[in-house]
């Protein structure tokens, strides 16, 4: 096994693999691409949230003979987007369940004629009563999905919660709400599709998971594997928003390509992307907590409910991760988590960085501060008293085998932020200052990789090869969309092969060329896929030494020469590796019991927030992020992930509201969906601790999603510290702060002395 102590390339700030192309404007995103004879596609969408389609009429002033028109009737295979539960139609057939649901597709060579035609399709509906809240769905007055609106439910139990209440010295209850959140990748969703009877379907597009799209296309077209090809184009941001939605878009474009006999490009504009694609699940989380007289947790009962929208998409797995992150980094002997995901007539919700954890962690970490206040205990002390340590079992009775350093992370975060001194200073100054300042923390973890047996189920295959031209290629279906996949995997390969970083390239993310190494989600790339690449490379070196006279030390040239000797005998030079679960992993999917995740990254975040009582605006003035993430593969990329995730978390807490009216997003423009600008982000101080995880690529654990879990609760805890008022819902806009701070004071009375 390679030594992780000294590495040349892993851990070094090498230049981003595709960085130069991005900096000179050469990187090719899907809208930069053209195919010969290409047409454009557009979607006729439902304007009502729920109802039957009574009729579809086509205005006579358009020459429809020049258009390709596709309805559900044109679907050769199944009218279902394959994902987890087969409930989402590719095109609505007779009924619609959400605003913007795709009904019909049009294609034409002229973009303007296409837009005109879009307005010339008249759909008439018989509306049905829609539902838009978790509460309405729970009440089941209207059944909009399945037999009971329930997309998924989990029950996680440890110990005996019911008998704990009687023994408790304190019982604290709280309810917390999180809103929908839009990914706002700066590149809108888009694909180009081609179809021929001979070659089948080819799709190029902005996407995270080529093999998800591959599977969806196979289902819609009823085609065998060798007649479907998916190629990822340079992707301008994703954050989970391009995990499942591209399957829908790809099927649409491909259907139009088949019908028209032309390649078809479908790229959404911002208004359509915001209105029609997935967002983060809204959630309502209720905590009931029992503590003993020393403030140690006795029992936690959590009811966690999400709004899944009209179709289940990824609601079950989001709910799963939410469930498994709901109890925090704390030791609690008795736990019950009842988690449910409800169908409504909103646009289906989907994956977004954190994937249920931001919602769960918001509630848990806000609740810890509320518990501290109720008990008259310092919120830092309360956490320290209850932290998990190595050797404890967590809520799923997973033994925490790996070394843990939550106390040290907390100490470091307090020290770097000067938390106690600042808190005392603000407490003194706030009385006489219209700007109220406060400090808040959040302690949390994020599980790396798929839950439980998920990685076994994925059965990822990955590896490397060397072409006859001497190019060393990493073969994975994992994609780059800014987070650094290309860079870290080539670093790992170069390190493990003992050659130079510039000697290694990524094979194109093309299902014709690369194996299925699993989706690029769940913070699994560096840990799971990185480890596969590491093993495959070590395997290759072993073979070259055994069979091709590769020396104990060698130059890159000598390595390539050995590869050629190996090729002479074997015909090719390649080394592939399949996922192996670490030994002793036990997971019960029914009882939600056992090793929920192979590894956890741990973090403590601190926010300094200022609340202006003239405008009721809250701003994050400073932010400290301390995390233990296994091995840091690339310091600049890793810090960039943390900083970017924190900025999104700040948006989640204070700026980003999806305004919904009758199931439609009314603020579907960048001018009124508000993300923080360069003038809004605070300084962000990032600190890494490393405990290398031996089953991760060069010791790495996942980091992509971790940073989105912590900011919102830290910020709202800081606001509680600053104002002494408790806010329990996000996004927390100035209008909401006003409602909590001042609305009880008559507006005729002056606020200032």
């Amino acid at each position: 096994m390679s030594t992780h102590a000294t590495t040349r390339i892993v851990g070094a700030p090498v230049p981003r693999k595709e960085g130069v192309d991005k900096l000179v404007g050469r990187a090719c995103y899907v809208d930069d691409m053209k195919r010969e004879g290409m047409w454009y596609g557009a979607t006729v969408r439902s304007t009502i949230p729920r109802g039957l389609i009574r009729s579809i009429a086509f205005d006579r002033h358009i020459d429809w003979s020049k258009f390709a028109v596709v309805t559900a009737a044109d679907i050769p295979g199944e009218n279902i987007i394959q994902l987890i539960i087969a409930d989402q139609p590719c095109l609505a057939d007779g009924k619609v369940n959400h605003c913007e649901e795709p009904i019909l597709l049009l294609a034409h060579p002229d973009k303007h004629k296409l837009r005109e035609a879009l307005g010339a399709v008249r759909v008439e509906y018989d509306p049905l009563p829609p539902i838009f809240t978790i509460e309405e769905s729970e009440r089941q007055d209207q059944i909009v999905w399945g037999a009971d609106n329930l997309l998924k439910s989990f029950m996680l139990e440890k110990g005996d919660v019911d008998s704990a209440w009687a023994r408790a010295a304190h019982i604290v209850e709280g309810e917390y709400r999180t809103g929908a959140q839009e990914h706002l990748y700066i590149e809108n969703q888009g694909v180009i599709a081609e179809y021929s009877a001979k070659d089948g379907v080819t799709v190029w597009g902005s996407l995270q998971c080529p093999y998800y799209v591959f599977k969806a296309l196979r289902g819609v077209f009823d085609l065998p594997e060798d007649k479907v090809r998916v190629v990822q184009t340079e992707t301008g941001g994703a954050f989970g928003g391009k995990e499942d939605y591209p399957s829908v878009l790809a099927c649409h474009a491909a259907l139009l390509a088949k019908k028209s006999g032309h390649p078809v490009k479908m790229v959404y504009d911002r208004m359509e992307d915001l209105a029609a694609t997935t967002k983060r699940h809204p959630a309502r989380v209720r905590h009931r907590t029992a503590l003993d007289k020393d403030g140690k947790l006795l029992a936690m009962e959590i009811h966690l409910d999400t709004d899944g929208g009209a179709y289940s998409t990824l609601s079950s797995t989001v709910l799963s991760r939410a469930t498994l992150h709901s109890t925090g980094p704390y030791l609690c002997p008795n736990v019950r988590v009842r988690a449910r995901s409800w169908a409504t007539n909103h646009v289906p919700y989907g994956a977004f960085r954190g994937f249920g954890a931001p919602q769960a962690v918001f509630a848990m970490e806000r609740d810890m501060d509320e518990i501290a206040a109720a008990l008259g205990v310092d919120p830092i002390e309360l956490r320290r008293r209850n932290f998990l340590h190595q050797g404890d079992t967590n809520a799923t009775e997973q033994l925490m085998r790996e070394p843990m350093m939550l106390d040290q992370l907390l100490d470091r975060a307090l020290q770097e932020s000067d938390y106690h001194a600042k808190r005392a200073q603000f407490a003194r100054e706030n009385a006489r200052n219209p700007i109220k300042r406060g400090m808040g923390i959040a302690a949390f973890y994020h599980g790396s990789g798929f839950t439980g047996s998920g990685e076994v189920y994925l059965n990822s295959l990955a590896g490397v090869d060397v072409t006859p031209e001497g190019k060393v290629r990493v073969l994975v279906s994992n994609t780059e969309f800014g987070q650094g996949t290309n860079t870290i995997l080539t670093q790992i390969a170069a390190e493990a092969l003992g050659i130079e970083y510039n000697d290694v390239t990524m094979a194109a993310p093309d299902t014709d060329m690369v194996p299925n190494s699993g989706p690029t989600v769940a913070s699994r790339t560096s840990m799971v896929v990185g480890r596969l690449i590491e093993r495959a490379c070590l395997q290759l070196i072993f073979l070259l030494r055994e069979q091709a006279a590769l020396g104990a030390t060698y130059t890159s040239e000598e390595f390539l020469a050995a590869c050629e000797r190996y090729r002479d005998v074997h015909g090719e030079v390649s080394s592939m590796c399949r996922y192996q679960a670490p030994p002793g992993i036990y997971w019960d999917d029914q009882k939600y019991h056992g090793e929920a995740y192979g590894a956890y990254a741990w973090a403590v975040y601190v926010a300094q927030v200022a609340v202006d009582t003239v405008t009721y605006s809250a701003e994050v003035e400073d932010f400290w992020a301390v995390q233990e993430v296994g091995r840091v593969l690339h310091p600049v990329l890793a810090a960039g992930q943390i900083e970017g995730g924190i900025a999104q978390g700040i948006g989640y807490a204070l700026y980003e509201k999806v305004v919904l009216a009758d199931g439609r997003m009314t603020n579907n423009q960048m001018t009124n969906y508000i993300m923080p600008t360069a003038e809004d982000v605070p300084p962000i101080h990032v600190y890494f601790e490393e405990i290398p995880f031996r089953h991760g690529g060069y010791g790495a654990k996942g980091i992509g999603e971790l940073p989105h879990d912590g900011p919102a609760p830290a910020i709202l805890n800081a606001i509680r510290d600053a104002t002494r008022v408790s806010f329990t819902a996000i996004p927390l806009l100035p209008e909401d702060l006003y409602a909590g701070l001042a609305a009880s004071q008559p507006v005729e009375e002056p606020a200032l002395p």
Binding site: K111, H112, R115, D269, M271, P434, T613, V614, T615, Y616, S617, E619, Y655, V659, T666, N667, Q669, T671, N672, I674, P676, T677, A678, E679, D680, P734, E735, Y738, A742, A743, V747, E748, P750, A751, L752
Partner: protein, 290 residues
């Protein structure tokens, strides 16, 4: 992108005279476009109804900033970046320079014009509170000649103004008489940059021996169009800054403003913040007066 460039005629006659002739020849048919930061957004969204547009970009007569002893005349097509860079504007009309720095981003400020901001007539217009506080005067021009109108009388209603069908906004005149005035401008948006005002308050006031001799108060997003807060001014004019005066001014403001609920904010929030801004301004006045 929902606009079709082929459906719009855009001409650039290149001189002010030629533009005015065109407006006179077909009154109401031609929509002037300067920097395009409003009209092109509508175009991209497929909402631009104007079929014929005449470009004002690059016409020097419209972009000058002329300083005379008594006033500064800002050409209607002066950009916000022009304003930010101008020494006299910065020195004598700091509220306008500040407002210019709040409009969009640097890329918007290099194209957005003062005239465009006023003619677009949004109740949230960034430059309007400053112009009202500075008692600005609007000069319009047509083939029939020029006329002047106090800016406070320029807007007639929501997105309606006094311009005749053949008239162009020509210049904005600012009287150079605010050197001794206290000045205040604060905008409340959704974030620090790239934000449309939820509410804004601009003010100039002249104090002598603790008595308010002159007061001009103006707000954004508290009425269907940018407006002076005349009732609130009345409650302050000739008064000393006592607690009673401040309370009276608050009451007058509450009675006078008509905020609404919209996609950006709520009437109640706007009302409360407007009163807070007024109070913040009056407290500053009182502190500086001591």
């Amino acid at each position: 992108m929902r606009g079709n460039a082929e459906m719009h005629e855009l001409v650039a006659p290149g001189s002010l005279g030629a533009v005015l002739d065109l407006l006179a020849a077909e009154p109401g048919a031609w929509t002037p476009i300067a920097g395009g930061t409003e009209l092109m957004v509508a175009f991209s969204a497929g909402r631009l109804s104007a079929a014929k547009l005449v470009s004002l970009w690059g016409i020097p007569d419209l972009r000058t900033i002329e300083v005379t002893p008594l006033s500064v005349a800002i050409g209607a097509a002066a950009t916000f970046l022009d304003l930010r860079k101008h020494a006299v504007v910065n020195a004598e009309f700091p509220l306008l320079a500040r407002a210019a720095s709040w409009i969009g981003s640097v890329a918007n400020q290099s194209r957005a014009t003062l005239g465009g901001n006023l003619v677009n007539g949004s109740p949230a217009a960034d430059s309007s509170p400053a112009l009202l506080a500075y008692d600005a005067e609007i000069e319009t021009i047509s083939v029939r000649g020029r006329r002047k109108v106090p800016y406070s009388e320029f807007h007639l209603g929501y997105k309606r103004n006094v311009l005749a069908a053949d008239e162009l906004l020509y210049a904005i005149h600012l009287p150079r008489r605010f050197a001794r005035h206290r000045q205040y401008l604060r905008k409340v948006g959704t974030r620090r940059a790239m934000a449309i005002a939820k509410v804004a308050l601009g003010a100039t006031a002249l104090l002598e021996q603790g008595i308010i001799r002159e007061i001009r108060l103006a707000a954004a997003s508290l009425a269907p169009y940018p407006t002076r807060l005349k009732q609130t001014e009345s409650a302050l004019l000739g008064q000393a800054l006592t607690r009673e005066t401040v309370l009276a001014a608050r009451r007058a403001l509450l009675a006078e403003v008509q905020p609404i609920d919209d996609i950006r904010s709520t009437a109640e929030y706007r009302r409360r913040v407007a009163v807070n801004l007024l109070e913040e301004f009056l407290l500053e006045l009182r502190r500086e007066g001591l």
